[in-house]
């Protein structure tokens, strides 16, 4: 009887977790998930290899690149596994921390639920959703190598088993770490703020290997090929997959070829298999043994520390002196809420880091040529800065809940004055945000003063345009602190797409339009302006488009937000 009850408890928790993760499909969730898993299996087993094979044959016939694929396979597999490992470790962790669940734990613990049941239940509830990621994502990465080695059916089955085990171990680990962090932070506004910050940073760390894979696949493979990485669990899974592909190959690899792989991979199939199994068992064991400690949480950050406001800093005092009106006061208080939230500071730091990394990557790839800076660096940096503007100035930064919006709207012209204050703040913050990457590019490229000023103007107006865009879209469809909400995702996606279109796709559209109307493609007109003229014209077109589109959206957004709800 006791066993039956225990089983039911973790199963019920797993069901609840599964229902939360698939909430958008409501009553059809079981049907939808079953269909998706069937499609995923078909995709992994048949359609993905077929599609990848067709695409590869269309680009470069497999016979020509088979040897190359075989050579880069072990290193690339480690890079892929590093990405998958980070994905399964950090994404569930990031999702868990975006919403601290101490309140749910209290309900479960008050109902005499074993702490191990909570850990097992929340873990199992996540498995179906993340299995879909493995089924849909992994075949795309693995198919070229499966084709190159012509891996047998049994070999493929074993490879997907290893991948699934790796996923399960990593999600389990993520679950344990997430529980520990949540328990430490507690359910409080400050704990939530810190948790959301960590969640955001996790997202950033996951992006790094993806960027690495896209831009520096060969360098990354070479780095990961070093023996020091034999100490990392993702290497064991990667090498195990490599050995399975080699062992179950259909191309009759010779003994010397296999010896070659042995010298790269160092550890053999059995050793890697043993390490992967031991790591999995250790993770589960540590998780089980530490549950009592993990779920013992403090009273929460709220009661532990009370933060008291002392004096206003000189910048805020100066701002209020420049504008000593009620509007100035709205700007000053909004700035305080912006900079006192750790998650906002993290967001700004994250956006700035990306804006600083992009020019370095472009220079590394294309070299320090001024002509290339205008043709390659400008659009990439512009998109990076626009992305940064959207990321920082979308609604989550300023409004915590709909109740705050009610308060703002209950003042006469409250919504309009609030949005206008946000625009002023955005234009102020855009100054350092655009200046820092501009200085970086100026130093890297050795630009003259007038070039620096031109580039700064371009970057500043890009950030301002993106900020207008982010604010306008959010005013039309207000979203709050919940970054998982459909409104937030829709707003971010819309703003990103407009930025991408204006900064990267705009010239293409102009080319089609000018060719149709005057018979001359846009790039020919631009080329006739010379390198500098082309760069300036490109900058003016991009910034003006962003400012006009963003400005219009803000105007419509203010009107919409000021109206009473229907």
């Amino acid at each position: 009887m006791e066993v039956a009850e225990m089983v039911r408890k973790w199963l019920e928790i797993a069901k609840a977790e599964f229902f939360v993760l698939t909430a958008r499909f409501k009553a059809q969730r079981k049907f939808f998930m079953s269909i998706m898993i069937i499609l995923g299996v078909l995709w992994a087993a048949y359609f993905a290899p077929l599609l990848v094979g067709l695409v590869m044959d269309a680009l470069i016939p497999l016979t020509q690149i088979r040897v190359l694929l075989q050579v880069m396979f072990p290193g690339f597999m480690r890079a892929v596994m590093l990405f998958l490992w980070m994905f399964f470790l950090l994404i569930p962790l990031s999702h868990a921390l975006a919403e601290v669940k101490i309140g749910q734990w209290e309900i479960l613990l008050a109902n005499d639920v074993n702490t191990r049941d909570i850990l097992v239940g929340t873990f199992l509830g996540k498995v179906p959703t993340y299995t879909l990621y493995v089924l849909f994502l992994a075949p795309l990465l693995l198919a070229p190598f499966q084709l190159a080695f012509q891996v047998s059916f049994l070999g493929q089955l074993l490879i997907y088993t290893v991948l699934t085990l790796m996923m399960l171990t990593t999600i389990w680990l993520s679950n344990v770490v997430g529980a520990a962090i949540q328990a430490k932070l507690g359910d409080s506004p400050r704990g939530n703020d810190i948790a959301k910050t960590i969640a955001m940073l996790m997202g950033l760390i996951t992006i790094v290997p993806v960027l690495g894979l896209q831009l520096f696949a060969s360098q990354l493979s070479a780095i990961l090929g070093m023996n020091v990485f034999l100490a990392f669990p993702f290497t064991w899974s990667a090498d195990l997959v490599s050995w399975l592909a080699i062992t179950f190959n259909g191309i009759s690899l010779t003994a010397s070829q296999i010896a070659n792989f042995q010298s790269i991979l160092q550890l053999d199939l059995l050793a890697n298999g043993l390490l992967v199994t031991l790591f999995g068992v250790a993770c589960v064991g540590i998780g089980f043994l530490s549950t009592e400690r993990l779920f013992t949480y403090g009273i929460g950050v709220r009661t532990e520390t009370i933060r008291t406001v002392r004096h206003e800093n000189l910048i805020l005092q100066g701002l209020y002196k420049i504008s000593p009106s009620s509007f100035g006061l709205i700007i000053v208080t909004s700035l305080k809420t912006l900079f006192r939230k750790v998650q906002n500071l993290a967001k700004i730091a994250m956006a700035l880091t990306l804006a600083l990394i992009l020019p370095v990557l472009v220079v590394l790839v294309y070299g320090q040529r001024y002509s290339l800076m205008l043709s390659s660096l400008l659009p990439v940096t512009s998109y990076g800065l626009a992305f940064m503007g959207v990321l920082i100035f979308s609604g989550t930064t300023f409004l915590e809940s709909q109740n705050q919006l009610w308060i703002v709207k209950s003042a006469p012209h409250g919504a309009s004055r609030f949005v206008k204050a946000l625009i002023v703040i955005a234009f102020l913050i855009a100054l350092p945000l655009s200046l820092i990457p501009t200085i970086e590019i100026t130093v890297m490229m050795g630009l003259e003063l007038f070039q620096f000023l031109g580039l700064f103007a371009n970057n500043y107006f890009i950030v301002c345009g993106a900020a207008l865009l982010g604010t306008g879209i959010t005013s039309l469809n207000p979203n709050y602190e919940d970054t998982k909400s459909p409104a937030h995702q829709k707003n971010m996606m819309t703003a990103m797409m407009i930025c991408l279109f204006v900064t990267m796709g705009g010239p293409l559209l102009l080319s089609i339009i000018t060719k149709r109307i005057i018979g001359v493609p846009f790039e020919t007109i631009m080329a006739s302006l010379g390198i500098v003229g082309e760069g300036v014209a490109q900058g003016i077109i991009t910034t003006t488009s962003l400012l006009v589109i963003g400005g219009l959206l803000v105007l419509v957004g203010i009107r919409r937000l000021g109206r009473p709800d229907a």
Partner: protein, 255 residues
């Protein structure tokens, strides 16, 4: 005695899809009075407050608040009224003083004009020792007090209070009760209070309306309601009108 009306509605109706939240509300509230709107959850109290304070469009019907039309003069209504929403939307990273400065600024007041008033309000509400602490460290009751201060800050003619004492301890509830009574008496501020707590409504309000399933069932003084229903207090009258009284045996039927 002031005989002008601060609220007047005719046939006010609000429909959300298939749900009729408010049905043909005809209401007259005198200036300087303390009107209590009682009703069960989902009866339409918050919808009424949101329409009257200019935050929500009515589906049909007309109305005026402080002499301003609810369909065309919403900003004038917002300037003349104060609103305590049902769920607090405080800024966790501002102190009480900074939050009140923000609300004052949204209502067009600058810092110098606000400071003395903020300090006095916080002192009356017993928050003077914690006024510079961030609101994230406040208890629910303290947050409610800050919100009540924010509704009074710009000296409104009419104050809408949606569940003002739901998160307060008995001492703080008594304080709010006294504050409403003295403000109504000394400044002729009108109050429109939505509440579940019948004893609070009985003590504070001079007129009470009971809303059930979007329809205003009765409007009268608490004493007249009790007398007309032949019961001993307002709670009993309320339960008679809206239902919800469950017999003792039925209460244990789930076991």
């Amino acid at each position: 005695m002031n005989t002008s009306l601060c609220i007047k509605t005719e046939g006010l109706t609000k429909v959300f899809g298939s749900v009729q939240a408010l049905r043909e509300l005809d209401l007259k509230v005198k200036s300087g009075s303390r009107f209590g709107l009682l009703g069960p959850n989902g009866a339409g109290k918050t919808t009424t407050v949101r329409i009257l304070s200019g935050l929500l469009k009515q589906t049909s019907g007309t109305g005026a608040v402080c002499g301003y039309d609810i369909a065309t003069q919403r900003d004038a209504i917002k300037a003349a009224t104060g609103l305590l929403p049902e769920t607090p939307g405080l800024y966790s990273k501002l102190s009480a003083v900074e939050f009140l400065e923000f609300i004052g600024a949204l209502n067009g007041r600058n810092r110098e004009a606000l400071h003395r008033r903020i300090n006095r309000l916080l002192a009356i509400l017993g928050l003077e020792g914690r006024q510079d602490d961030l609101l994230e460290s406040y208890s629910s009751g303290m947050k409610q007090k800050v919100l009540i201060a924010s509704t009074l800050l710009h000296d409104p003619q009419l104050v809408f209070l949606d569940e003002p004492t739901s998160r307060l301890d008995p001492a703080a509830s008594a304080l709010i009760k006294d504050l409403i009574l003295i403000l109504a008496e000394e400044t002729e501020t009108s109050f429109f209070i939505c509440t579940h707590i019948t004893s609070f409504a009985e003590d504070v309000c001079d007129v009470i309306g009971i809303l059930n399933e979007g329809r205003l069932v009765i409007v009268s003084s608490p004493q007249q309601i009790v007398e007309s229903m032949g019961v001993k207090d307002l709670e009993e009258a309320y339960l008679r009108i809206v239902g919800g009284k469950v017999e003792g045996r039925a209460l244990l039927a789930w076991r």
